[in-house]
C-alpha cells in the first residue's frame, strides 16, 4: 500500500516522465555488471535533474520507509546497484553537467552523472588530466566512481579516486543537504567527511556535486613490454624497479593462462611459453622519462627478462593492445566471468600469484590472472558457466580461499572494486568484529532505518 502512495508522491514531486514503473524498464535495472549475483527488480526508477529533486526523493523514501539505491552507469563489480529489497532506483545519469573547470586552482566541479572520460575531454584543452582511470572510464559516472573509490591502471603513481576528491555535496536520507571540503589544497577542518563518503557505496548519502583535483598532463610517455620465463623473475622485477626509485605510471602483469588466451584470441604476437609478462609505462618530463626507461630496461635484464620498448605511438598502441585484450580474451573463453580483486603488498606479489595458480589446480578451475602489479592489485578471473551448479560451488570455495590468502599476506579484500553484496561477508576477516561494529555505528547514525542501499557492505 505505502509503495503505491510513495510512487504517487514521487510523481507529484518529479513529474510523470521522471518516474518509471513500466515492467520492461524495471527489468533493465535488476542487475549490474557483477557476475553470479541474484537479480531483483526495483518498484520504481526515478531520475532527478538537480539537488532539489534528490532531496524530494529521499524525503519520500524516508517518509514511506522505502529503500533507495543510487545508481550511476551500473558498471560496478560487487552487486552494488542491485535493488535487493525492491524500492527506488535513483538514477543519477541525467545530473551530468560539468559545472566548472577552474584551471588556476587545478580543480573541476561536476555533477555526479558526468562520465569520467567526458571530464577528461573537458580539461584536456587546459593541459590537465583527471588521473583515476578504471577500465570503464568511457562509461562509468563520477558519482559511481567516487562511491566505489575506483582505481585503474595508473594507481601505482597516481593513486585512486579518493586522492582526487576535494569536496562533496551530499544529500542525507532525511533530505538534509550537507557540503564538505572545497577548492583549497589545505583543508583539515574537523572530521574528514569527504573521505568518509568517498567509497561509501551509496550507503550513507547521495552525492550531488563533486569537486576534484586535476593535475598537469604528463609531457611524454614511454611503454615497454617485458617477458619472463619464471613468474618469480617478474615479481622481483616489480619490486626492484620501485626500489630503484622509479615509479612507473603503469606496471601491469599477465600470467601464463592470460597470455595464452590473449594470443589465441587476438594474435598480437606474445610468446606463449613465458610465464609472465609486464607492461610498464613511465611518464613525465622527457629527460626523466628517458632516464627511468633506461633503469627499467636494466632491471628487467638483471632479472632474466626480455624487453621491447615502443619507439612511437603506433608501437605503444601495439603493446597496449595486449593489455586491453586481457579481459575480453578471457571473457570469451567461457560464458561466465568472475572477476576478483585481491590485493597484497607489492612485495608479496609473487607469493600471491603462485597461490592463485595452486588454487586453480586445487579446485580444478580455469583462472587467468592479470592486474596492476605495481600496486599489488590482482584480478584473478575465474572462467566458468553459471549454469553448471557443481562447478559454481567450487568457484565459490576458490573465491573464499583467494581472499583468505590475500589477507594472510597482509593484503585487503578490495583494491578498487568495492564491497557491495559480493564481499560483505568477508569484512570481519579484514577488520575483526570490532572494526566492523565501528563502521556499523557510523551507518546507523547517518541512516538509522537502513534505507540507503540496504543489503550492501554493512548489511
Amino acid at each position: 500500500m505505502s509503495k503505491a502512495q510513495a510512487i504517487e508522491a514521487l510523481v507529484k514531486a518529479l513529474g510523470k516522465e521522471n518516474v518509471i514503473t513500466e515492467h520492461e524498464e524495471l527489468v533493465c535495472y535488476s542487475f549490474d555488471a557483477t557476475a553470479d549475483m541474484p537479480s531483483q527488480m526495483p518498484d520504481v526508477v526515478v531520475t532527478p535533474t538537480n539537488t532539489h529533486d534528490v532531496t524530494e526523493i529521499l524525503k519520500v523514501a524516508n517518509q514511506y520507509k522505502i529503500p533507495v539505491y543510487p545508481r550511476g552507469s551500473g558498471t560496478n563489480l560487487c552487486g552494488d546497484t542491485i535493488p535487493l529489497k525492491g524500492g527506488i532506483i535513483l538514477r543519477m545519469q541525467k545530473m551530468n553537467k560539468i559545472i566548472e573547470v577552474d584551471a588556476d586552482n587545478l580543480v573541476a566541479v561536476v555533477q555526479p552523472g558526468v562520465i569520467i572520460n567526458d571530464l577528461n575531454v573537458a580539461v584536456a584543452p587546459f593541459g590537465l588530466i583527471y588521473p583515476p582511470d578504471p577500465g570503464t572510464v568511457a562509461t562509468a559516472t563520477m558519482g559511481g566512481s567516487v562511491s566505489e573509490c575506483s582505481g585503474g591502471l595508473r594507481g601505482l603513481k597516481y593513486g585512486v579516486t579518493k586522492h582526487y576528491v576535494m569536496g562533496l555535496e551530499v544529500v542525507m536520507i532525511d533530505g538534509t543537504v550537507a557540503r564538505f571540503g572545497g577548492k583549497t589544497v589545505k583543508n583539515v577542518t574537523a572530521y574528514d567527511m569527504v573521505k568518509l563518503f568517498t567509497g561509501a557505496e551509496g550507503t550513507l548519502g547521495v552525492i550531488t556535486e563533486i569537486t576534484v583535483k586535476l593535475i598537469p598532463a604528463p609531457e611524454t610517455k614511454k611503454s615497454m613490454l617485458a617477458y619472463f620465463d619464471k613468474l618469480e623473475d617478474a615479481g622481483n622485477t616489480v619490486t626492484e624497479i620501485v626500489r630503484s626509485k622509479v615509479i612507473p605510471a603503469t606496471m601491469e602483469i599477465m600470467d601464463q593462462v592470460t597470455i595464452r588466451t590473449v594470443e589465441n584470441f587476438s594474435k598480437v604476437g606474445l610468446p606463449t611459453d613465458c610465464e609472465a609478462l609486464l607492461l610498464i609505462e613511465v611518464d613525465g618530463i622527457p629527460e626523466v622519462v628517458e632516464r627511468e626507461a633506461a633503469t627499467v630496461v636494466k632491471v628487467v635484464g638483471n632479472n632474466n627478462g626480455k624487453i621491447k620498448v615502443a619507439k612511437d605511438d603506433v608501437e605503444r598502441d601495439g603493446l597496449w593492445a595486449a593489455r586491453r585484450a586481457a579481459l575480453p580474451a578471457l571473457a570469451q573463453m567461457k560464458p561466465t566471468t568472475v572477476l576478483e580483486d585481491a590485493t597484497v603488498p607489492r612485495s608479496k606479489l609473487t607469493e600471491m600469484l603462485v597461490a592463485l595458480q595452486n588454487i586453480a589446480k586445487k579446485y580444478n578451475l580455469h583462472i587467468g590472472t592479470f592486474g596492476h602489479a605495481g600496486d599489488g592489485n590482482l584480478h584473478p578471473t575465474i572462467l566458468t558457466d553459471e549454469r553448471d551448479a557443481e562447478e559454481m560451488k567450487r568457484v565459490h570455495q576458490a573465491v573464499d580461499e583467494i581472499f583468505k590468502v590475500a589477507l594472510e599476506l597482509g593484503g585487503t579484500i578490495s583494491g578498487e572494486h568495492g564491497i557491495g553484496m559480493a564481499k560483505a561477508k568477508y569484512l570481519p576477516l579484514e577488520f575483526g568484529e570490532q572494526g566492523v561494529e565501528v563502521m556499523r555505528k557510523v551507518k546507523r547514525a547517518l541512516d538509522p532505518e537502513n534505507l540507503l542501499n540496504p543489503g550492501k557492505m554493512m548489511g
Binding site: 515492467h23 520492461e24 533493465c28 549490474d32 552507469s73 558498471t75 570503464t136
Partner: protein, 423 residues
C-alpha cells in the same frame, strides 16, 4: 540453428554478455535516452527473459527492441565479442512470431512480397505524389499523417525508376569482366543517378553490367522488423535470380542491401536444404561498389580527372561495421586529383536514419542526426559524401531542416565526376 527461426538459436550469444556495460559508450540511442533499456546490455537481459519464457510479447516489450538502429556499434565495441545487434534481431523475430506486426508495417511488408504491386505503387507514387506530399524547396513533406512524421522531408521519387530507364544488359566497349548489379529500392526509385554512375564507371573499366529485371527489394525492412517470413521469401527469390547469372561479382551501392545479401540471406536460409548452399555462393560474390573498384579492379584513381571539391565523409554503419569496408571508400575518394577531405570527429557514428526507425522514432532519430549535423558543420566542407541512400535521405532531411548549405553525394557519383572531367 537459424537465429531468426527460434530464439534458442541465439542463446550462446546471450549468455556471452558479461553485462560490463561497455556498449553504453557507443550506442547512439543510449546517448540520447540514457535509459538502460536503450542500450544493448538492457535489451540482452530482456532477450534472456524471452528466452527463458519469463517475458512474452507486449507492445511495450516490442517497443524496447524497436528502439535500436541496428548500427552495430555495440557489437563492434563489445569486449566479449557479443553480436548484440543479432540478439536484438532475434528477439524482434520471436516477438513478431508471438504477435503479428502492427497493422501498418504488416501491410507495407505484404506489398514488398509482391514486387509487381510494390513497383506499381511506387510508380503511381511518382505521378500522384503531389497529392499526398506537399512540395518544398528541397523535397517533399508528407501532406497527411500517413504514419510518417509531418516534419520529415523526403526526397521526390524519380520520374522514371532506374530499371525502366536502363537496359538489362549494359555492355562495355572493351569488355573484360561481367557483373550483376543489385540496385536496391532507394537507387531504383529515388537516386537514379547513382545507378547510372555505377554503370558508367564500370563500363569505363571494361565491365559489362547486367541489371536483372525481376529483382526487387532486398527485404531488409521486413527482416529488420522481425517479419522473417517475408524476409525469407525475398531472400529465396533473389538467390534464385542471381544464382542463374554467370557473373564475376554482384555489385551493391547500399550497405544494407549488401549486408542483407552477404549475411542475412545466409542466416535466414541456414537451415534450408535447397537454399543454404546457394545463398552462400551468392553471398561470396557480393561487392560494394567501392570494394569492387579498389580491391578487385585496382583502379588507379590518381589518374582520373580533377574534381575540385572539399568533402567530408559519413561512413554508413552497414558499409563500415556491417560489411567491414572502412578503408576502400576513402582510399578511392582521397586519391582523386583536386579533391580535399575534411574528416568529421566521428565519421562512423550512426546518422540515426536506420530505415523505418527514422519514421517511427522521429524525435530520437532527429536528436541523433543533430549530432551528425554538428559534426558536419565543424568540418569546413561543402559536400557530404556517403555510400548509402538511406543515410543520404536522413542527412538531406537534416541539412534542409537546419538550412545548412551542404549537399550530399554518393561515393560513386564523385568517381563518375572524376571520369567525366577526364574526358
Amino acid at each position: 540453428m537459424a537465429i531468426y527461426d527460434n530464439i534458442k538459436g541465439i542463446e550462446e550469444e546471450i549468455i556471452k554478455c558479461m553485462k560490463c556495460g561497455n556498449c553504453q559508450a557507443v550506442c547512439p540511442v543510449y546517448k540520447e535516452t540514457l535509459a538502460e533499456s536503450g542500450v544493448a546490455r538492457g535489451k540482452i537481459q530482456l532477450a534472456a527473459k524471452i528466452l527463458k519464457g519469463e517475458a512474452k510479447y507486449t507492445p511495450e516489450l516490442y517497443k524496447k527492441f524497436d528502439l535500436c538502429l541496428q548500427c552495430q556499434a555495440c557489437s563492434a565495441n563489445c569486449p566479449c565479442g557479443v553480436k548484440a545487434h543479432k540478439i536484438i534481431m532475434a528477439a524482434r523475430a520471436e516477438l513478431t512470431r508471438q504477435n503479428a506486426l502492427p497493422f501498418a508495417k504488416k501491410a507495407a511488408f505484404n506489398v514488398l512480397r509482391k514486387p509487381a504491386l510494390f513497383d506499381f505503387g511506387l510508380r503511381l507514387g511518382s505521378t500522384f505524389q503531389g497529392l499526398a506530399f506537399r512540395k518544398n524547396a528541397t523535397g517533399m513533406s508528407p501532406r497527411f499523417p500517413i504514419g510518417l512524421e509531418m516534419r520529415r522531408v523526403i526526397p521526390s521519387l524519380a520520374n522514371k525508376p532506374l530499371r525502366s530507364e536502363l537496359p538489362e544488359t549494359n555492355k562495355a566497349s572493351k569488355s573484360r569482366k561481367k557483373v550483376a548489379f543489385f540496385t536496391g529500392c532507394v537507387t531504383n526509385y529515388i537516386y537514379t543517378n547513382v545507378g547510372k554512375a555505377v554503370v558508367e564507371v564500370l563500363n569505363h573499366n571494361g565491365v559489362d553490367v547486367i541489371i536483372p529485371k525481376e529483382q526487387h527489394c532486398c527485404g531488409a525492412p521486413a527482416t529488420i522488423n522481425g517479419d522473417i517470413e517475408t524476409g525469407k521469401a525475398m531472400a529465396k527469390s533473389h538467390v534464385d535470380i542471381f544464382s542463374k547469372l554467370d557473373v564475376d561479382a554482384i555489385i551493391t551501392v547500399c550497405g544494407t542491401c549488401g549486408g542483407t545479401f552477404e549475411q542475412k540471406y545466409v542466416e535466414l536460409l541456414a537451415d534450408d536444404p535447397v537454399y543454404a548452399e546457394k545463398a552462400k555462393a551468392v553471398a561470396k560474390k557480393i561487392r560494394d561498389i567501392s570494394e569492387y573498384l579498389v580491391d578487385d579492379l585496382k583502379v588507379d584513381f590518381s589518374k582520373l580527372g580533377k574534381v575540385n571539391m572539399t568533402f567530408t565523409y559519413h561512413e554508413p554503419c552497414h558499409i563500415g561495421r556491417g560489411m567491414g569496408l572502412t578503408r576502400q571508400p576513402l582510399e578511392m575518394l582521397t586519391k582523386i586529383p583536386g579533391i580535399s577531405y575534411k574528416a568529421m570527429k566521428q565519421p562512423n557514428r550512426c546518422c540515426g536514419g536506420a530505415g523505418s526507425f527514422s519514421l517511427t522514432n522521429y524525435p530520437v532519430s532527429y536528436q541523433i542526426l543533430k549530432k551528425k549535423l554538428d559534426d558536419i558543420q565543424g568540418t569546413d566542407s561543402t559536400v557530404v559524401v556517403t555510400g548509402c541512400g538511406s543515410c543520404r535521405m536522413q542527412i538531406e532531411d537534416g541539412l534542409s531542416q537546419e538550412k545548412m548549405p551542404h549537399h550530399v553525394m554518393h561515393v560513386i557519383e564523385v568517381v563518375q565526376r572524376a571520369y567525366q572531367s577526364k574526358k
